[in-house]
Symmetry: D2
Subunit: 444 residues, 4 copies
């Protein structure tokens, strides 16, 4: 491996970590690639900034933060737990560079408005991350090859969880990894809420390598517990916020409508969304994929406001002017009401295919290892004074209350006009029938 | 005037002011207009986020913040200095609604990458703000008319400084106003620097209305002084940062090149930047103007990377992939060297019209009233125990050191390859001659 | 009632609430009494500053903070829920002054090193608070009487929970009251930990009066949940810290030894701790009680270092020079080992009466109303859109995990020399036997 | 030298530096001495907490902070500027341990209410610091001798500025040293003001060793400038606050009165302030000196409230119950009025020797090297790209405005009753004459 140091460390000012320290030439070169710079043009939280106005930060800053946390973990490991022989389960600092690159690049394949876009166009950001790293045509790939010919594949395998050293894999991806730690702190800072503010310094202090990955010192148990709770609360309060999801629904329906129009040749004759066409045609090159960002979608939405199709126009207007759909919760007992409610929306003059939706938000806040699951979780292990390990939920009553329990809610979305006050409208009776089904934000 | 209150106050979470409180229906309706929502798609600090990665916040959040500070000023004034008769120079709370609307809307006419865009296309954001407020075709205008027929003009006159009540005007625009106070705090927060962190609460406490506008209690002198220093430091450290300006120069040259190509009909046959065409043609409607945002420019830059024009292509790549021009300071003694340096850039294979530039950044940190100036400044007045006023710089040695003195620097910009190390390049001799002219970041 | 306003609001700078606003003359006069100023000389967290060095703040600042939070609650209630008729369950602002005074004075009767001192000298700070408020000889009582003759008793009855308006009582004392909210934020700030940092602004926004006291709006559920978790974590991490308790044990034994010596007339002939003598004699006047503070105890500890009694001398040295006893956890299964361990301590040359101790720390993080309990808890009620109430733990899985469950630990304390490494000491065999009983910080 | 590392780094939680890291056994042992623990019982800011209630922090935490900043400087120097040969002017890490010990111990000799006490009893904390370090009877001295026999003297010589390596001396004592950096940040945090919040991380990044001491990289100029301004503002706003000085005056007069009484044998027959007697008798041993702390003085003040001397009693009450003297500014033109004002105070029934005072507060915010001065200042040097040095004030207009100019004010202090409203008092005419001399907080 050819790992060159910079003549002098370079720093990037960052509100979360104060400074991000870059010491290796390959890291600086990766940051300067066009593929990585593209991440500046993709918001980290998609439609959440419509609810939490400060949350306009990009995936670029998040990736830099994940890199920085990983760097600090490596520093701690190297200072306190340097490996003396290959079998001692301690930290081998030769692993540093692959860990840093994987940390920096782990989100490289994200597209604009991530999950919504993926859902409509059937793309997968993890697959694209792998592809961008390993395809010879990208600047990223060329930079990584400076280190060694097989280095791109090594980095990709960390992100893919197939890299042999579990310490490196768990740094980047586990139930308490650099990725999650950065986004919780960052999203809390930019939304201006306090839910995500756990004690990073303390957690970094108590992390330690062992043979099967990464464990936590006993006296850091409460800091780790606090992190699990913070994550739970961020999901409940920020990521699952019903208004952000109301905008996500608008976006989904807007993209769906555009795709439907294209497929029925009803876009012909108008200014084509040329950068989206490969996606409509399901024939997407790396270059096509990397051309997209949030602003490009918004540009097309701006143009679509001038299209003759009323639905496309209206949904584009709703998205750009922040008119979220409203919602009410339902559960398995009230789910059977949804068709009836959809019909009422249709009766009030809306195409129910584009003006009603269900949106469910669920997260598994923490889980223990389960050999029968497909996606096996690495559980959080607390190391006792004598070196033995205890799984977190067995000693934390709070974590135990969350363990293995899916958390979230299911909502039915519809246009706001169904429930606001109207004086004398031809649809009044439908509105009233609709409203009668909702009580205390629940469908009843 | 018809000023309706909301049945229940609505709040917006904000990292600077914690919550932004909306109590009037007209304010909520203004926020919900498409023209105001557009501000979400325009960054507050333009190219600064290329240097300070966190500074990705939009003009939307800033406008909300200016509104909130103005609201707090009104609350303080109404609680502590309510007018008893029309001549007492105290606060008449009937002025609140016009102050709040003007605060919210003062930046409405900003376009993408504000000053750069204005410079190339000869637009003026203040004129556009007035136009958007007073033109009957905008949603903004229609909302404002709910209050009264002449209300849009009233609001516009506050922004124009022609409104009769100087207290209202100075809240929004003076040397220590809600606009500046919000942007200093906000830009400091998002850049993650501390220079802009003055004590807002204390300044709000010591502000007080008087006949000719707004003054500050004697015991708040140091808080006001600190604000002036913070502002000075933010300009020196953040707003004038040479690297951000290096990106601004790339952007200027890129837009210039596009305009030149269009004017010479060299865009024909390629995908037209349709939303920019009215600007190329110098025939811009309100709707054209309001269609633009940062993302739309970036979209065209993405498309231009596929144009055959090498200069356009290269400059678009440099902007999207963050390749700022480098720079060196010059002064009146070394200014005569610039043509020589430009020639060296040309000799090294760059068109000097698009690959060299001068960029000067100057600010007047604070000034006293000068009847002979065109743009008269409202000086900062400190009120003594007995009601008499003293101008700030006469009692603050630090403010005095800044008063009336323009501060900033002049820089010559050029491609980075002129000064980095090259091993064996055909242009080596030009590079070397070029480098010989630069010492300690200065042209010598 | 004679409630005078100050001509101009007075503010106190405070790191937690930024400013504390005093608007009533009676509040300012109360702050200026000698009894209230005494609280500056009593630390809020007793021996915790031996573990968390920043936690040197006094009860004075905490009381100011509780006052300020109560003031903000009253402001919110008056603005949003003003009572229109005596039966509507909303807020009657005539209650403000009694609430503010009770908030300010609720901790007035605390003595130095509160619980430890109370335990040894059998005093009770709540009783003393009542007494100081209602005894005509105090400055506090005289100030309160300015309002009305029965005002001191009214204020005392709020602190005593017998005041008729449950809203006022619950502001000052309930499971989520101004007292707890201030101390969590304050103790988190001064210790420099983040566990206590819940979202005060949001909680204040969602608090609302109703007939039986105070409830919380539905959309604030997560903020309230977060507060309950913060409180739990502060207890686990800060208030129950084993090292602080190790200093508390030293203090207890030191005061016990002094008392024992006095009672056996073994202090005669030495400089008497004159201000403690009334406590030794169990004959304490208000003036005696109010003369004590942390510094006075420390002064006697300094003098006691020159006494001939070796135990008194040694314990005083240990306390002043921060030599905490060490500890190990035990449980009901290992409790029977304690006599054996105490004997080993005695064998190693320490008087087991003064050099071993058990110390248990328990808290009930949250509880629901239980009619059979002596100390009935006011449960936290969440108000639905339709006005109905739901008890918090029924909708929060995390709070439910803590509800009604006592949390804490039991520890056995002993001198550090029992477990540190010794090379060749005559007591080595006892040390070794002792150490054999401890594994992973547990007695086994 | 025998410098032992701890088997595992020990950390102390601190709100300013998050964690303070102790890695050497000698540092931990020094912290655990009784002389160092005494600093917990001495407030850092003396009477300032009477004005800024949060500022109750002790000298202990400040000393720990100075240690931590010094440690970070050493780490930076060792990582980036390690000396290769004895003559290169870079950092020799063998100097680390003497720097750390000097940093930790630099304030060891402070007594209670530092300057006031020193003034009355003619002691000198710098001399005492030297003495405690070098006298064989202290625990400090014994711990330092573990390193080497002459180590105590070495450490003392750093504090004394006679240590040969100017880098070590300037770390601890210069115009921008670890001492000042810690107290500005700490005092800002605990007072809850923002004036002292400069960017420590950045300053540490740009510090660098050179032959004659410590310089700062060119690109850190603004951070250093900001630090100088912060320091200036802290002095103006916090340290020189007239109310804190009003309490300082009360304290001075109280100690003076006690001393006068003792010297005239008027304390006989009452409980003697035994720990102060050596100071009254001007015969003070190290042990006497180290016995004192804030609480001991307060204990005597409590006892003195029961003395028959009315002046002593009254001044003790004023101090314990926070009744500061009031003040007005004077200057060289109005100074001649002071005797007349003192006579009015005397006429109103106060002994002018104990109830009037002048108090002047001056600081030199920054100065350049002046070979003719007694106390030569180490000026702040900015290092250019080519290694040449420029003195700070030549490139910072703001620093230049402060350079060499003494800043502060002179005040005359007197009892509050001279200026508050009185209805019908026998002294009314004197009060009125007195008040006529004061306008806008100035003597006129």
């Amino acid at each position: 491996m050819n790992v060159q140091m910079l003549p002098r460390e370079k720093v990037f000012r960052d509100p979360i970590h104060n400074y991000i320290h870059v010491q290796h030439k390959v890291i600086l070169d990766l940051i300067n690639t066009k593929e990585f710079q593209r991440l500046r043009r993709i918001k980290q939280l998609g439609t959440s900034s419509f609810t939490f106005q400060g949350a306009e930060h990009s995936r670029f800053t998040h990736c830099m933060g994940v890199y920085e946390i990983t760097r600090q973990i490596c520093d701690n490991f190297q200072r306190n737990y340097p490996s003396k022989n290959s079998d001692d389960g301690l930290w081998n600092d030769d692993e540093r560079i692959v860990a840093l690159c994987a940390a920096l690049l782990h989100d490289l394949g994200h597209g604009p408005y991530s999950h919504t876009f993926e859902h409509i166009f059937n793309t997968d950001h993890e697959m694209w991350t792998q592809k961008i790293i390993t395809s010879p045509e990208t600047e990223i790939n060329q930079v990584l090859k400076q280190v060694s010919d097989d280095f791109p594949e090594k980095v990709a395998s960390v992100i893919d969880h197939t890299y042999p050293n579990p310490q490196v894999v768990q740094m980047i991806s586990s139930q308490i990894d650099a990725d999650r730690m950065d986004y919780l702190l960052r999203d809390a800072y930019f939304t201006g809420t306090k839910y995500g503010m756990f004690d990073l310094t303390r957690i970094l202090r108590v992390m330690r390598p062992y043979k099967k990955g990464i464990a936590f010192d006993n006296d850091g148990m409460h800091a780790v517990e606090d992190y699990v709770l913070c994550r739970f609360q961020m999901y409940q309060q920020i990521y699952f916020h019903p208004v952000s999801r109301g905008m996500e629904v608008v976006l989904t329906k807007l993209l769906q409508r555009a795709k439907d129009l294209y497929e029925h040749n009803q876009m012909n004759g108008f200014e084509m969304p040329s950068l989206l066409v490969p996606f409509f045609n399901k024939n997407v090159t790396i270059n096509d994929y990397l051309s997209l960002d949030d602003g490009i979608l918004n540009t097309y939405f701006t143009l679509w406001q001038n299209y003759p199709d009323e639905t496309l126009k209206d949904l584009a207007y709703r998205f750009l002017s922040r008119k979220p759909f409203k919602s009410a919760q339902y559960n398995h007992e009230t789910k059977h009401k949804l068709p009836e409610l959809s019909e009422l929306v249709e009766s009030a003059g809306f195409d129910k295919n584009y003006y009603t939706a269900i949106n469910t938000s669920f997260d598994l806040p923490y889980d223990i290892y389960n050999p029968r699951q497909n996606k096996r979780k690495t559980q959080i292990e607390i190391m006792q004074d004598d070196g033995s390990l205890i799984e977190l939920s067995t000693i934390s009553r709070l974590v135990n209350a969350l363990t293995g329990k899916i958390s979230g809610d299911e909502r039915f979305y519809f246009p706001k006009s169904m429930i606001v006050e109207h004086s004398n409208d031809i649809f009044s009776e439908y509105y009233q029938s609709f409203k009668d089904h909702i009580h205390n934000d629940m469908i009843v």
